[in-house]
Point group: C2
Chain length 396, copies 2
Amino acid sequence: MRVLILGIDGYLGWSLALRLASKGYTIGGIDNFSRRECVSEMDSHSALPIHEMPERLKAFEDHFKKELFFSKGDLIHYDFVEQIFRDFKPEAIVHLGENPSAPYSMIDAKHAAWTQTNNIVGTLNVLYAMKNITPQGHLIKLGTMGEYGTPNIDIPEGFFEIEYRGRKENLPFPRQAGSWYHQSKVHDSNNVMLACRIWGLRSSDIMQGIVYGSRILEMNEDDRLLTRLDFDQCFGTAINRFCCQAVVDQPLSPFGKGHQKRGFLPLKDSIQCLTLVIENPPAQGEYRVFNQFEEVYDITQLALKVKSVGRDLGLKVEVKNVENPRYEAEEHYYKPDHKKLLELGYQPTKDMEAEIHIMLQDLIKYRDRIEAKKEVLIPDIHWDGKRKKVTYFHGK
Amino acid sequence: MRVLILGIDGYLGWSLALRLASKGYTIGGIDNFSRRECVSEMDSHSALPIHEMPERLKAFEDHFKKELFFSKGDLIHYDFVEQIFRDFKPEAIVHLGENPSAPYSMIDAKHAAWTQTNNIVGTLNVLYAMKNITPQGHLIKLGTMGEYGTPNIDIPEGFFEIEYRGRKENLPFPRQAGSWYHQSKVHDSNNVMLACRIWGLRSSDIMQGIVYGSRILEMNEDDRLLTRLDFDQCFGTAINRFCCQAVVDQPLSPFGKGHQKRGFLPLKDSIQCLTLVIENPPAQGEYRVFNQFEEVYDITQLALKVKSVGRDLGLKVEVKNVENPRYEAEEHYYKPDHKKLLELGYQPTKDMEAEIHIMLQDLIKYRDRIEAKKEVLIPDIHWDGKRKKVTYFHGK
């Protein structure tokens, strides 16, 4: 199968390319390297050193004995997107080519507009290229569990059957996302659903939980195959950031009361799930939604897990809550379904401690890289637009 | 009260300015004249001749003996938007400054991207300017009934209380819009709702039905005060287009089976409702939704009304269905609530025939303008991206 990965230079994109190549797929990829630029803008870098694309492509070829068809370019230019579809003729398109940061989108009006434009226009262009060039293709679109927000009822996988004033209907589950970035993903979901309805395209829309972890099996033999791992306030995700804090002896910092509940999954589970979705495409014209995570955890619970594993490795680790720069519920009901991937054969790792152990060992090797930029672990971007470092709580 | 009208050069914007001025309000307005440009791009013009802005402003001043604070500019430039808010300090902001055309958004990838970017970024910039400059202001945001689509259950006004798996919650009603344009309005609604939640702004989001009619009372004394009336496939609305067809002896052309049901209201009712909403602001932090229309009609029913009134005026009028260039349900359940505006005091006109009569008389005066461009009354933009004039049905 010919799989085109949009955003192949990223955390998930690069990892997925390695997995699919190891399974014999033909891989194409595009990237505009905006993630590298945005992380620089945050005065940070990846904790794990990654190479420039030419060296990555060389490592890929050395390892898999075949070419990765890479093209540098930006999804917001339709002509570029259409040309890639013409040249590569993908059977599956994995769309990871969006800006994934909530805090980045909340900096100011310009970052809000850029995030939404970048994500929405990129996705529209992919939909048009599919319609015009590869209408039988399968779009695997990365959304986020954050699209749903935290309603006071169970969250189904995309759609729910309800009764209202005596009539029944199967409806998209209402989205209540909490940042301009999360809203951009809601907008995308709505656009992708429409394209499937009016053009008969097919898509799997992945509401993904928060991914953590530093590697998948395919990276073990060659450090040149490592993927990026961010830890700045904008592009680092919760557990990855906690592990980086642990490594440089900075207190782990849950936001506010620290009882936000979210779905999490290790990097290797994310790649396992995406592969399953690619291998089990929907029918032509179908728009289906997966909630992709292993289990729901409370943020403080996670911090305590990192503390426990970190201490086994001889790290001094403390947990100290900081004021919450976000506007979000800190104690809430949260029960999202996650059955459809299990039905496709997803086998959850179910050993978070082991994953954290591996990640901490990886990060300890690169402690100096984190130490050099440790300031970026403390957020200063607030949801009300203010820019000021959060302070640690004195007592809880 | 100081009211800033975004898109003041448009069909509703200009009409609302006249009404509010006649009630003694101080009016500010901005426009980038993109509507004029887009209508030219469709090789069309307004059926009613409207003047350039300097003459419109002069007529306004002659009539109301006060200034209209106009500034030319584009909502997608944040610095421009913020400057206007600083200079004019609006207490109410009526946001009509979006591209309102479904077919225009369906032309190709570039028109889709432009429509969504233009509308979404403009609205984000307005929200940021409110947060930064006038956080007590009241945003009256024009959405569309088309955001809801045509679900097989009743449509509430924005939110509905449901029970799901034994728990209750009040949720935003799911949107299932049918074009990139309609989706842009859904995206806006989601963004505005978020801004109210996280920043404590207040907004009235108007899900408006299809507006028809050529004038409001304030235009009767001076033809320079007329508002635009479009009839091309992109910017003309259903009844207005039927009336233009009647005037140039072209068969009225419902799409497909012609049993699409939609909510409609005359121009003067739209202006009455918007004025009521401005005069009855929500509480700080509140996001409320109105379904703004007078009554639901079947498209064919409307064509027959235009035919009947047209024949009274001596016009030969036929109704002949054409193939449907859109992807939409042509026979469906449709029962949207519309109580909240009545509760605020809205007094519906309830005499569609009289409104059509006035409009036909206005249009007969400018028959030559419609005759010169009558080709644009027959659509050629299809939802599947094809560009080909629709054909009349031979028998039904």
